[in-house]
């Protein structure tokens, strides 16, 4: 099975042209475009390459799901987009274009002015993400008033409106409650109200439901979906739950060791995935919707250290197909290649090899 060139030429012609623009910093047409983003943390143990060359685009009204195991760099990416890394302990390079404006090289003041207004974020644990000493209302008012020159009274009315919008009963009463007086689901709703108070065009949700029960998770996901339709905002949904992605996203970005392993529409990602890591994720997953009598197919080993990222393809120590192409996986880093329109993957195997493996070895066992 050493037919390594079968799809190679085809693929080479389609190497993402993103890299070519980096030097020139041409504004893209897409609403959000991340180009070759790198976020590294120098530490005593060595350089942590949390994000190491990530590129993607996102349009208004669309949802991008970012999945990957713990430590793959999902949160670091999202904080990077919001410009929340402390430049004293993180080095950020690459480009982030939001609606024609570049953020990595912009002044901190300019980025701050966009935060909360044009781009907003929802965090995983709403209890620790809200200040324990200020009322929920106060925190929403604060978010609204930084970017809108309105009186406290008007802002408070807006806060009550927002709380009502996200489905908090009796918002005019609850507005004066403190976060600890809310249940987990209500806190996340309040957090969403706060994030949406300035009508942001980009909403990043970092594991917004991981801390919640399924029934509450379903409510929150519905809410995010409805609000997105209402506001026509772009949403980045970060999660490790493939189910959440399948329900909510248009496109999906599979991250591994700080890089994009596969980028595809959800349909392609679940029905025609072209990266062994994506296969591994699908194979590891127990299913609710069908009886799965076969054993699960876990990925062997554990996610790599981001200080000593494996050479070549970072996934090769865990990949069952790494040997198929004569050791190339161990030495040469596979580029993210657009193999089909809108479907990119970073793997040395030929397209045909991958299609065969998927059809014959993986899909039947899911």
């Amino acid at each position: 099975m050493a037919r390594r060139n079968t799809g190679g030429k085809h693929a080479a012609g389609l190497v993402d042209d993103v890299g070519a623009h980096v030097a020139g910093r041409t504004p893209p047409s897409a609403f959000l475009e991340v180009r070759d983003l790198r976020i590294h943390f120098p530490t005593d143990d060595g350089l942590v390459r949390s994000v190491d060359g990530l590129s993607f685009r996102l349009e208004r009204g669309k949802t991008l799901g970012i999945v990957g195991e713990s430590g793959s760099g999902k949160s670091v990416t999202s904080l990077g987009i919001l410009g929340l890394h402390n430049r004293r302990n993180a080095t950020v390079s690459g480009e982030i274009w939001l609606d024609g404006q570049e953020l990595v090289h912009a002044s901190p003041g300019d980025v701050r002015a966009l935060r909360g207004r044009k781009m907003a974020m929802i965090f995983q644990d709403p209890l620790s993400a809200m200040h324990p000493f200020y009322t929920v209302g106060h925190q929403i008012v604060e978010a609204y008033r930084v970017h809108n020159d309105v009186s406290k009274r008007v802002a408070r009315k807006h806060a009550i409106d927002m709380l009502g919008r996200v489905g908090i009963p009796k918002p005019d009463k609850r507005v004066d409650d403190y976060p600890h007086q809310f249940s987990g689901g209500m806190r996340q709703r309040a957090m969403i109200a706060m994030a949406l108070s300035c009508d942001p065009e980009l909403l990043i949700a970092d594991e917004p439901t991981t801390a919640l029960d399924v029934t509450v998770q379903a409510q929150i996901l519905d809410l995010i979906r409805d609000l997105q339709q209402e506001f026509n905002s772009a949403v980045i949904m970060i999660t490790h739950d493939l189910g959440v992605v399948a329900e909510l996203s248009d496109d999906i970005l599979v991250m591994y060791a700080g890089r994009c392993a596969e980028y595809a529409s959800v349909d392609d990602a679940f029905h025609r995935p072209l990266h062994p890591y994506t296969w591994g994720l699908l194979g590891s997953m127990p299913r609710l919707d069908r009886e799965r009598s076969e054993r699960l197919m876990p990925i062997k080993g554990t996610p790599p250290s981001l200080i000593n990222v494996p050479s070549g393809c970072a996934f090769h120590p865990r990949c069952a197909y790494g040997e198929l192409n004569g050791g190339r996986s161990e030495t040469e880093r596979p580029e993210l290649v657009e193999v089909e329109p809108g479907h990119k993957a970073a793997c040395h195997l030929s397209l045909q090899q991958r299609r065969e493996i998927w059809e014959s070895e993986i899909r039947p066992k899911l």
Binding site: E69, S70, S183, G184, G185, M186, D213, V214, T215, V216, Q217, A218, Q219, L221, D222, H240, D241, L242, G243, V244, V245, A246, E247, L248, V266, D267, F270, H271, G280, L281, L282, G283, S284, M285, P286, R287, L288, D289, R290, E291, R292, S293, E294, R295, L296, M297, P298, I299, K300, T302, P303, R363, P364, L366
Partner: protein, 387 residues
């Protein structure tokens, strides 16, 4: 629906084969729990007077047969862990009875329990905090031997290394410390320790929820392999319904300290009867974009009520879309509505009988149950697709 036609037959065969390997549930159960409950007192004031009670578990009954896996699911705070800890006798039950291998262990003193501890073991959620960071893997896994004065020192080392191998760790890891291992490996160490004394029953409280998907699958497979190899019996507590579907033979669904439904795995997932089970299943996002929009969604309103003051009669009535007057007045008993399928509801789904029939025999509310064939009011809970 993703299983291609060609392999569908194969799948059924292996499913059947696996079912064959499972025990037929007859004879005396390994573990029998009757009306078990735990009320945590809430005290106040200087005199620590009891002012209320958290009804964490409020009368649950089930049995587990040798070699099978019982899954316990439910939302946070419904009493899953408390139930598990009572079975292990880490908590003293407030009422009820626990019978293990025919012996009533409910009130057994810790001294008399000690020999039984060999047979009853627990796997915890957090693989790190349950391992002493200052002890080597060898010491951790070998501790149960020493506690029970089982073997000589050399014998212990050999036995521990065998165990490490059994759970897929390198026997040379004997002298390493827990922090040198990843989450999945730590959970394996925890499992090795649990297996040291060849227990008969293992209660696993969220054994995989702290792990990444790929690692979670490794541990799930390990637990299944060990079960086949060592003829283990599991009670697996989890909030992840997909994991439970995969690993359990029978599943108990808990809500606010009560079991609301208890059935064989496929029965429960394909024909859930209790509205809460329906809601729970329909809330889980399905990793298949084709199902988007195709599924019936049942969205519960609000949050789970406080176990300090649970709603009367059917505890689910405050959130149930099918609730009627009777639900607020008469508690539906957990009864068998079809063979092996118990549910506690006056108006269950996917069946024509209901708890009300039983109750109405006692002439409470004639006609409250929907007539056979007539769909119950409210959004009908069809079984989730993909079966």
């Amino acid at each position: 629906m993703n299983i291609s036609k060609a392999t569908a037959g194969e799948t059924t065969v292996s499913a059947a084969a696996r079912a064959d390997a499972r025990p037929i549930r007859e004879g005396e159960p390994l573990l029998q729990v009757d009306n078990l409950g735990k009320h945590f007192p809430v005290t106040a004031g200087l005199l620590r007077r009891q002012v209320a009670a958290v009804k964490a578990v409020d009368g649950v009954s089930f049995s587990v047969h040798k070699g099978e896996t019982l899954g316990v699911v439910g939302e946070s705070g419904c009493g899953k862990s408390t139930t598990g800890r009572m079975i292990m006798r880490l908590l003293d039950p407030s009422f009820g009875r626990i019978v293990f291998e025919g012996r009533d262990i409910t009130k057994m003193s810790q001294g008399r329990l000690r020999p039984l501890r060999r047979d009853l073991q627990m796997i915890f959620q957090d693989p790190y905090s349950s391992l002493n960071p200052r002890k080597t893997v060898g010491a951790i896994v070998g501790a149960p031997f020493r506690l029970q004065n089982i073997k000589t020192e050399q014998g212990v080392k050999k036995a521990v290394q065998d165990l490490l191998e059994l759970v897929g760790l390198n026997p040379e890891h004997y002298n390493r410390y827990p922090h040198e291992f990843s989450g999945g490996q730590r959970q394996r160490i925890g499992i090795a320790r649990t297996l040291a004394l060849r227990p008969k029953l293992i209660v696993a409280d969220e054994p995989v929820s702290a792990l990444d998907v790929s690692v979670q699958a490794q541990v799930v497979n390990l637990m299944e392999d060990l079960q086949d190899e060592l003829d283990l019996t599991y009670v697996v507590i989890a909030h992840d319904l997909s994991v439970v579907r995969h690993i359990a033979d029978r599943v108990a669904v808990m809500y606010l300290g009560k079991i609301v439904e208890l059935a064989d795995r496929s029965d429960l997932y394909e024909r859930p009867m209790h509205p809460y089970t329906n809601a729970l299943l329909s809330a889980v996002p399905i990793p298949d974009p084709k199902d988007r929009g195709a599924r019936t969604r049942i969205r519960l309103q609000g949050d789970v009520p406080s176990p300090l003051d649970p709603p009367p009669a059917c505890r689910f009535h405050t959130r149930c879309w099918k609730a009627q007057e009777i639900c607020k007045q008469v508690e539906p008993p957990l009864i068998e509505l079809s063979p092996g399928h118990q549910a506690a509801c006056h108006f269950p789904e996917n069946t024509t009988v209901s708890a009300t029939d039983e109750v109405s025999r006692a002439a409470v509310a004639p006609g409250a149950a929907p007539a056979p064939g007539e769909p119950p009011s409210g959004p009908a809970g069809t079984p989730p697709p993909g079966v």
